[in-house]
């Protein structure tokens, strides 16, 4: 009989896993809490480092998940997974139950809620926005201030909600640096007369062609990089934002006015994932992400046999890594179901 695998979360990892499970001959149910699958990809405009449209990746994922044998259940929030003799009972918020032979959890990440960094005034000052808000502006084609004017100077704050003990996140979200560089270039592209300033603690350009993108931003787009985390933001009488940081390389505090401030919100364990971990006894790490069975050779395995992880529910990852991780999860599922059959 055809084995049934449930994938929880219809983002990049979930869709990739579902597509590969189907190819490997399983019946797949993919649960997504939103009205349509795609996850954060739906909100993003272009991807780093090559700035291709995110819709291209979405199209690929849609294609592989549109095959027969994959059932996509949207608008469904999975509450609990119960293990029962090689079978899993999965129940959603409304009490509906499903059974499966194996489960892949791909609940992904939530963007850090930037309101929590009160000193930056997100939700208080009109022109403090997040990286996600900026992507929406890119999609709409116009970057505007709250009063409809075009910003002349834009500040970008790295590490908002990452590497910050004050909000309880000691880890690096890994993608915000390169996202900041990408968005800085895009701002300059959209608004050629604008000036962009990135306030960073470290430039963590550890991916393929990230460093090159950083250099491009400096060389071709004249993006300014200031090493020093913004400590506070306030509004001047001209509605401009006054930001304070230290220019650690000059060894002096620095004050400047910008029209718009973009906060590079970090990645956090998703709320759905947190609930699932509590209800179903899945281990979490100190960083609150799911803790895989082994960091080096078992990054897809959970502490419960038959339940696997894919993608950013275990740690911050870029799309390339997420897709690889999802495929690896499928390979673990194949091994697991082969063993349990025998």
């Amino acid at each position: 009989m055809e084995k049934h695998v449930v994938v929880i979360g219809g983002g990049v990892a979930g869709m990739e896993a579902a597509g590969h499970l189907q190819k490997s001959g399983f019946r797949v149910s993919l649960f997504e809490k939103e009205e349509k699958p795609g996850g954060h990809l739906n909100d993003w405009y272009k991807l780093f480092p090559d700035r291709r449209r995110s819709s291209e990746v979405k199209e690929y994922l849609d294609k592989i998940t549109s095959e027969d044998g994959i059932k996509i259940i949207t608008g469904s929030i999975i509450d609990k997974i119960v293990s029962d003799k090689n079978q899993f009972r999965i129940s959603d918020k409304d009490g509906k139950e499903y059974s499966a032979d194996a489960v892949i959890i791909a609940t992904g990440f939530d963007l850090f809620k930037s309101e929590r960094k009160e000193e930056y005034g997100y939700g208080i000052y009109d022109n403090v926005i997040t990286s996600a808000d900026l992507e929406k502006m890119f999609r709409s084609g116009s970057i505007e201030l709250a009063d409809g004017r075009i910003p002349e100077t834009v500040g970008i704050v790295h590490c908002v909600g990452s590497r910050d003990e004050k909000v309880g996140n000691l880890y690096c979200s890994k993608l915000c640096c390169v996202t900041a560089v990408k968005q800085a270039i895009e701002i300059r592209e959209h608004l050629p007369s604008s000036k962009v300033f990135c306030f960073y603690m470290d430039m963590r350009m550890g991916g393929a062609y990230y460093e090159e993108l950083y250099r491009e931003a400096q060389e071709e787009w004249g993006v300014n990089f200031i090493r020093g985390k913004v400590s506070e933001v306030s509004e001047a009488i001209n509605n401009k934002l006054v930001i304070k940081s230290e220019d650690t390389l000059a060894g002096k505090p620095l004050k400047m006015q910008v029209d718009m401030l973009v906060l590079m919100a970090g990645m956090e364990m998703s709320e759905g994932g947190l609930k699932l971990s509590e209800s179903s006894g899945l281990n979490k790490g100190n960083n609150r992400f799911f803790s895989p069975a082994d960091h080096h050779f078992g990054s897809n395995k959970s502490n419960i046999k038959g339940i696997f992880y894919a993608g950013t529910c275990t740690m911050p990852m870029n799309i390339t890594e997420t897709i690889s991780h999802a495929r690896a999860a499928v390979s673990d599922v194949i091994d697991y179901l082969k063993d349990s059959k025998a």
Binding site: Q218, G222, N224, D247, L249, P253, L254, Q257
Partner: protein, 114 residues
């Protein structure tokens, strides 16, 4: 005036908007590699002049970019243009030209240096 026995301290904060970055602009227009510095400090570490004085090209570089020109104006004259910094720079910044252009700019626009 009353004598209070103290004066109002001047802030050492970089007031980015009040500073003039004309000199930095002059340099980066003529030597685009000025922009790609990542402040690693290789130049200052190998510097022949830095071996004898507190001269740091890295520091002067960032101060110029922030428009803190006054502290650069005298210091930049210490460079001997020997070119070791150009050789070690991981980003390929043409440091000799940066120094030369900075000196040129300070001579050309003495008012901006204040």
């Amino acid at each position: 005036m009353e004598r209070f026995g103290f004066a109002i301290s001047k802030g050492r904060q970089i007031d980015y908007d009040a500073n003039s970055r004309h000199i930095a602009g002059y340099i980066s227009e003529r030597e685009p590699s000025f922009r790609v510095c990542i402040e690693c400090g290789c130049c200052a570490a190998t510097c022949t002049t830095g071996n004898f004085t507190s001269f740091s090209l890295r520091e002067l570089h960032i101060l110029l970019k922030r428009g803190e020109n006054e502290s650069v104006r005298e210091n930049i004259k210490k460079c001997m243009l020997c070119g070791k910094c150009t050789l070690v720079c991981p980003r390929g910044v043409n440091t000799r030209n940066v120094v030369t252009l900075a000196r040129q700019a300070f001579q050309k626009f003495p008012a901006d240096a204040v």
